[in-house]
């Protein structure tokens, strides 16, 4: 495999909240290849979004970021503001959950697109206008010319997300980070946006990080999936491996908790307990208190990140066999 596009090493993010310090992200190692589509799955508070905000230097000042994030060898953590500003949108673009509030309400769509084009491609007035039209076309907005002079509040959530994607494409980035891009949208619109993201990736060859709490959204749209729990990476595998042969109890639990869409209805396997508070301290595995097969050492020692197969890693003390769910074992009874 060629040199990866983006490399994360020992990335930590700490939030200072009054006297409390909470570690929101703690990732030892993570890589993304050029043109690769990676899904990041986790619940609220798992650190799946914070990771990428930290990489781009978009967190508020009460967060402190440690470790390293490099894109093509260039360090992002602790980089000067000017460097980050040049990288944002140009090398790494990001889109967010609620598109309608991510567009500036007092500026026209055309203005906002032209701004990005001016920043990254040096395009002005007529040239920017033409390129903006082309971009809106590319993201499947009908009647693009009229939309240029519309304001965000005149567009639906789905259209606004398309505009956000067009704006992200303006800098022709190497990597697009899509943070829950469809969570605020209806099911039929979500399907449209996901198809659009696939098409664009095929056309431009850029890499994609798709962040979602929805296993399904990720499963259909990426090559590789990373699962995060309480700020840590617990499992990482190619999509088929992960959904077919998950090895970490948490991943297995998430899959088992998802109701089926076909076949006979079975009782869901529920993961007991709740997500730990971010400020709670634990030296061992963060999932141990909810894990049906936890052993004493799980609560004390941090689990090693074990290589299970080709591109398949899981952070668990126990070597759970492939194809066997810990939730189907007798001790997992509720």
């Amino acid at each position: 495999m060629a040199a990866p596009l983006l490399v994360l090493r020992n990335l930590t993010v700490d939030f200072h909240n009054g006297e409390r310090l909470s570690r929101a992200v703690d990732i030892a190692e993570f890589e993304i290849g050029a043109g690769e589509a990676v899904g990041v799955v986790g619940e609220s508070g798992s650190g799946k979004s914070v990771t990428w905000l930290a990489a781009l230097g978009l967190l508020p000042t009460r967060a402190s970021v440690g470790g390293s994030v490099r894109i093509d060898g260039q360090e992002l953590v602790g980089a000067p503001a000017a460097t980050l500003e040049r990288l944002r949108g140009k090398r790494i673009a990001m889109i967010f959950q609620d598109p309608s509030s991510c567009l500036n309400p007092v500026h026209r769509i055309g203005w906002q697109l032209s701004e990005a084009l001016g920043l990254h491609r040096g395009l002005e007035s007529a040239a920017a206008q033409a390129e903006a039209l082309r971009l809106l076309d590319q993201v499947g907005i009908a009647d693009a010319r009229r939309r240029l002079s519309d304001y965000p509040h005149q567009l639906s959530g789905g259209l606004n997300q398309r505009v956000m994607i067009a704006m992200a494409l303006a800098g022709q980035p190497d990597l697009l980070v899509a943070d829950e891009p469809t969570t605020a949208l209806d099911a039929t619109i979500q399907a449209q946006i996901l198809v659009l993201l696939r098409t664009i990736r095929r056309d431009t060859g850029m890499a994609l990080v798709l962040i979602s709490h929805d296993l399904g959204v990720v499963a259909e749209n990426v090559d590789r999936v990373a699962v995060m729990y309480a700020g840590r990476l617990v499992e990482e595998a190619m999509g088929a491996d992960l959904f077919g042969a998950a090895r970490h109890p948490y991943t297995q639990g998430l899959l088992a908790a998802l109701p089926a869409l076909t076949g006979p209805r079975q009782r869901l396997t529920a993961i007991p307990g709740t997500v730990p508070d971010p400020w709670s301290v634990s030296s061992g595995c963060r999932f141990a208190p909810r894990c049906p097969v936890a052993e004493p050492r799980c609560a004390q020692q941090p689990p090693p990140s074990r290589r299970i197969g080709l591109l398949h890693r899981a952070a668990c003390h126990l070597a759970v066999e492939a194809g066997r769910s810990v939730w189907a074992m007798p001790q997992a009874a509720e």
Binding site: L58, S101, N104
Partner: protein, 310 residues
């Protein structure tokens, strides 16, 4: 846009009518207007003439209509002190009031807004805390206390500036500074919170994420949005220019509308009070109208909604 303007105009008219009605009702509630306005020791035939002129023997609703008719043409009767039409007395005082309130307004905006923006951009730093501390002190200090303290320092002790009167532009300095200080404090506080609110919005982070430099994010993305609520407070300040000048004009013996109002209230010169009430109401309604139009200009959401919605 047209329906928008028309609806605002109608609302403005309604407000004026509301003020008139308020004055009418209060006047009736407070006793016999003839006695109140003409004073008790007026000759009986004069009172009778007044009753006839104002139609006080007719039914209440007719009186009301007559009152509104008079009021709309600016006829509030004559001042009981010098017998001149009340409206004339008021109008000739307006320039003096504007001469101190407009520079004070410039001071409020010129100091308050930059200070507020600066504080918001440097949140929780020493500069921010200092600005806010000065601002709290600025608006918890009553204007008459500030005025007297300034007089004590600059007129009594240092002897640099005159303590009262309106003989030269120098005389206007202390009134303007007094009026401007408290307003600047309020302005700074308000601008800061408007700016903080905007800086917390997702579109600010999204603008940063697309590579916009921070100074440009502030100037082109944050400020236009923060301007929208700020315009409201500026409009309110313009609307209450005259009201704010009441105390300060009295302290500095400045011959403006405010001082006239105080003496009219003290002497119960009701015609003059009513005239001032209507002038202030009209002024305030115009200020609100201007705010609404400014809103439409600054905020495309309001414009869009008024044009038929989406």
């Amino acid at each position: 846009m047209l329906t928008f303007a028309v609806s605002r105009l109608l609302r403005a008219g309604l407000t004026i009518l509301f003020v008139m009605t308020f004055a009418f009702v209060v006047l009736r509630l407070s006793g016999d207007p003839a006695l109140l306005i003409m004073s008790v020791d007026a000759p009986p035939e004069a009172i009778a003439a007044f009753r006839k002129a104002w139609g006080l023997e007719r039914p209440l609703w007719e009186q009301y209509l007559a009152y509104v008719g008079h009021a709309t043409t600016g006829d509030f009767g004559k001042s009981m002190r010098d017998g001149r039409p009340a409206i004339e007395l008021v109008m000739e005082r307006v320039p003096a009031t504007l001469a101190i309130t407009l520079p004070a307004l410039a001071l409020k905006i010129g100091i308050g807004i930059p200070a507020g923006i600066y504080a918001a951009l440097h949140r929780n730093t020493f500069a921010d805390r200092l600005t806010m501390a000065v601002s709290v002190a600025g608006f918890t200090m009553p204007s008459f206390v500030l005025a007297l303290v300034l007089v004590l320092i600059f007129a009594v002790t240092l002897g640099w500036l005159p303590a009262s009167g309106a003989d030269s532009p120098i005389h206007a300095i202390l009134p303007i500074v007094t009026l401007g200080t408290a307003g600047a404090a309020i302005m700074a506080r308000f601008t800061r919170s408007a700016m903080l609110e905007v800086l917390g919005q997702p579109y600010i982070r999204a603008a940063s994420a697309k590579g916009v430099t921070w100074p440009r994010v502030v100037a082109r993305h944050a400020l236009p949005n923060a301007a929208i609520p700020t315009v409201t407070i500026i409009g309110f300040m313009i609307g209450s220019l005259v009201a704010g000048a009441v105390v300060v004009e009295t302290v500095f013996a400045w011959p403006g509308v405010g001082r006239l109002l105080v003496s009219a209230v003290a002497n119960r010169d009701l015609s003059v009070v009513q005239a001032i009430l209507m002038v202030i109401a009209a002024w305030m309604v115009s200020a609100n109208l201007a705010v609404d139009l400014a809103y439409g200009w600054l905020d495309p959401r309001v414009r869009g909604a008024s044009a038929g919605g989406h």
